[in-house]
Amino acid sequence: MRRWSVAAVTVTSAALVLTACSGGPTDDGGSADGGHLRIGAVVDLSTWDPAGAAWGNEATYFMATYDTVLRTAADGTVEPGLAETWEYNDDRTQLTLHLRDGVTFSDGDEVTAEVVAENLLRFRDGTSENAGNLGAVESITAADEHTVEIELSQPDPGLETYLSQNSGLVGSPAMFDDPDAAASPIGSGPYVYDEAASIPGSRYEFTAREDYWDEEIQHYDSITINVYTDATATQNALRDGQVDMANLNSTSQIPAAEQAGYTINAAPVNWKGFILADREGTVNEALGDVRVRQAINYALDRDALLQAIDSGYGEPTTQIFGPENEAFVDELEDRYPYDPEKAKELLAEAGYPDGVTIVEPRTSFVPASDYELIAGMLVESNITLQGEETGSEFIGDLLGGKWAAFQFGLNQEPLAWQVYQLAVAPESAWNVKHVVDETVQGLAERMRLGGEDGSAAARELNEYLVEQAWFAPIYRVDGVLVTAEGTSMTNKTGQAVPNLWDIVPE
């Protein structure tokens, strides 16, 4: 009996000690006081090595530690970064970058033209999925200690934007041959990664660099990025007030975030819908007819699907270009109103009075419930979706053009050229059948040269793609970021996360 009394007293005392030490979240040092920013990320960092860096949801990690050659503002305007000024030659096949003087990495090495050139070449020749962004780069040389000359095989209107993203990350030369570079970044950025205090995969700690060349963008003394790959963990962190800013895993978490007192910052980032890849009818003859592809567009009740799938957080659309993109055409949003009768009419004209059947892959990208919902809707227009189970090993088949059409979601990049390179160009990953269209190619050549005519060509391309129904977008889905009281941010066009310097204490 005495032993149990002692045990009971011990347990009770421990409980009292623990509760006495409570008083708010403690794993990151307390709530925001303007000196410390706590970010909740839904994606873990894949590698610190700039040569293999991803972007998108991982951008925050890199923006903390590295500088990029150029920067883009929240509205997509290109701004100076490590390069103070830059200019093209007359035919836009040479970009000259003039680097600012006196910038050093956190290990003390200077950022020189040679180092920048080497970083860019390593990215071009590296394993990043965006390495193709620098595909037009033929050579990069250091004209002098602070001048970089990039020779292009042909003009690339996206290059400046690419240099503000992972393509333009500049790491210390000490990382080049270091097998541990993936875990230990050395950058010239506004914050220094604190490897000792961090727990990779869970929590990344950064402290503001004292001698940083652009103090104006350092709004915090320190930053913690917490990784919440699980939606429940994110929700619990919000409920407990453990973050000042966070991505949400899905729009379904918005009510919980609002209840916890967070401000919702929603902006469309991706579009969801169909990629009608088989425009030449090699896999499914029916899809080679534009009327069949248009019928699919008419068969989609975009408003209803947005409401049913994403609770209305987004905007119905027929375009793969976002509203901030130069190629966006407002009138195109009304091109394909929901009209099952019109869809059937088009199918009959195309020689399919009894409808068509389309075999599509059931992938992990799209929830099964969404498949069922959309399939049920298309049946009303005599379009039958026949799902083919793929398991987890389908990407090679998908990108190899096995299926005539499939449901997917793609980023609405800020530049029209980026969208073209991502999903329209014959060699692009998501033109899976590598369809070559003369009209598209002609418009792309005009886009390549940029300027007003380039923008006009982008709009014409958009109109052509919508008219030819290369895709059947359903809606732009909102990417949602939340901010706690005392923190504000500015959404960045076409990017899942804001610029780190656009997150500020209020």
Partner: protein
């Protein structure tokens, strides 16, 4: 005892080697498009080919296995195909976290499981019924739900513990304790009832034996009969169940670590398996396998300590 230990260690090594071969084969045969996944969905054929070359994925499978196994024999678990980080660094840094949760859960389960089981066996009545209900609930309710419920009550409502995150012991012992309490409790609650049931059953069996009647007839106090004689005899089966619970808790930790955003083996096991990151998955499989082998060995040794008959056999 020495011979027993040597035999068990040798058989453990054989088991790990078998696990390495079978696990690697199943993983490689069951995954494809790894280079595409590593390079990224939007990566072109050139990037994919570069990844294949860099990681040696363009070589025959047997050659790849030979290289990996040869390195394994020197203690080199390789590098993650996705992050490039040393597998040993990743696994060892996270293993300590998972083991902390597992040991904490087992200890909690042991202490309260034995206590509740003993009370149920000796007091009977409402305690006995409560233990049986607890056993059913613990087995029926997923650990995920238990974790969420604990967070809502003790973290969000009462603010006694953090809802997510992990504090290293070296950084703050109190912070560490607070960060692991709810996950440990969530893991323990799932197995507590089962252990209590086992202890209850074993004790009821022993309590009915002749030697216990004899002890009572000799005038020994009841608490001495129960805790010095009965419990010791009933501990054997409970110990086996606890050893099994350790393995079950390791599996349950995958979900609990996700919910609490704890940097243990669970989240990285989930991610690496989904990605097809073979070196990392194999590292986790082998380390986990080694832990299970060690735990079973410890249980067997303790069985021998408790019960001399086991030693002799």
């Amino acid at each position: 005892m020495r011979n027993f230990l040597v035999r068990r260690i040798l058989s453990g090594i054989v088991m790990l080697a078998t696990l390495a071969v079978v696990g690697y084969a199943l993983l490689r045969l069951g995954t494809s498009d790894i280079a595409q996944k590593i390079a990224g969905q939007s990566a072109g054929p050139a990037q994919v080919a570069l990844v294949e070359e860099k990681l040696g994925l363009d070589r025959p499978m047997l050659v790849q296995f030979g290289d990996w196994f040869g390195a394994l024999l020197t203690g080199d678990l390789g590098r993650s195909w996705f992050s490039g980080q040393l597998v040993s660094d990743t696994v060892l840094s996270r293993m300590s976290v998972t083991v902390t949760l597992a040991i904490g859960s087992v200890l909690l389960t042991a202490v309260f499981g034995v206590l509740l089981g003993a009370l149920a066996a000796t007091r009977r009545g409402w305690i006995d019924r409560a233990v049986q209900v607890l056993a059913v609930i613990g087995q029926a309710v997923p650990g995920f739900l238990l974790a969420v419920a604990l967070v809502l009550v003790f973290a969000v409502q009462l603010d006694w513990f953090p809802a997510t995150g992990y504090e290293r012991f070296a950084d703050s012992p109190v912070g560490w304790l607070r960060s692991v309490t709810l996950p440990i409790v969530a893991l323990a609650l799932g197995s507590l009832g089962g252990v209590a049931q086992q202890v209850r059953g074993s004790m009821l069996d022993v309590l009915g034996r002749d030697h216990v009647r004899t002890l009572r007839s000799r005038g020994l106090p009841e608490h001495r009969v129960v805790y010095r004689y009965v419990l010791r005899n009933a501990a054997g089966p409970a110990l086996s169940v606890l050893g099994l619970q350790f393995v079950i808790i390791l599996s349950a930790a995958v979900v609990v670590e996700q919910v609490f955003s704890i940097p243990g083996l669970g989240p990285v096991a989930l991610t690496s398996t989904t990605q097809g990151d073979v070196p990392l998955v194999m590292g986790i499989v082998l380390v986990t396998g080694a832990m299970v082998i060690v735990v079973n060995l410890v249980v067997d040794v303790l069985q021998g300590v408790i019960n001399p008959k086991v030693r002799l056999s």
